[in-house]
Symmetry: C2
DNA sequence: CAGTATCCCTTTTGATACTG
DNA sequence: CAGTATCAAAAGGGATACTG
């Protein structure tokens, strides 16, 4: 079994097809982080610990199924912690791990860039539309 | 028509549902940037101008349909430039716009983080698996 | 070469109902 | 409360054939 991530530049990895190739796990990790709900969960949890139902409210529009799926994926990746209190009714809290804090920062940087530059993007779309 | 992006903190926008709400265009922009092919195209073009067929080779596995669709989306967003030479056979070159260069940097930062920290993520997944 | 058009299959997602 | 199970709807994406 060869290491799919030798020490070479990122663009070299792209050329070699290692980065994000179908069989590279990084693709899945990136997907979970940049999916709409994954991204929202990471950003919401930057503000602190949240319960399942809090997250449902904060990530407006998410279904129970998708939220549960998203949380499980991020937890498996080690980006968030799940702490269940053994009480009835159930009480479960989610929070970012140190790894998740780092990840959330990058994701937030990207989302922030889009928010800040959205006017420029919208202008580009309008200009293009007007030209037709 | 009210401005969906007033000057308030990002987390306030999330709470208000403005960021990435179904009817906010930022969601679509982010989606194009973080889609597998969108991300790859942005990163490949960081190395310089490429022709359509070059991109097909560089982004191994992409279909003509998806590449064309991706390029049109990124072009409409003002992230890449399309320059068609009026010759036969056709010759079309794609490159990053100044806006696209900024965007590509953020995307690359995220992808780099995932690549660098993949071992930590994989370890988290393995640990979790072993605990069952 | 650089696409577009069409068909079809797979994956994703949402609604709803149910459980510990 | 915090999920799981199930089914139907919708979107995503590939293979192929065709065009300027």
């Amino acid at each position: 079994m060869t290491d799919p991530h030798p020490r070479e530049s990122l663009s070299d990895q792209i050329r070699r097809g290692a980065l994000l190739s179908t069989d590279c796990p990084s693709r899945e990790v990136l997907k979970r982080m940049t999916s709409l709900w994954g991204l929202l969960v990471l950003m919401i949890l930057r503000d602190g610990t949240r319960r399942f139902s809090d997250l449902r409210r904060a990530a407006a529009g998410v279904s129970e199924k998708m939220l549960a799926q998203t949380l499980q994926g991020l937890e498996a990746d080690g980006l968030i912690d799940r702490h269940a209190f053994p009480v009835i009714p159930p009480h479960v809290e989610y929070s970012l791990t140190p790894l998740g804090i780092e990840a959330a920062e990058r994701v937030a940087a990207l989302a922030d860039w889009v928010e800040v530059n959205l006017p420029r993007v919208m202008e580009a779309r309008a200009t293009r539309l007007a030209a037709e």
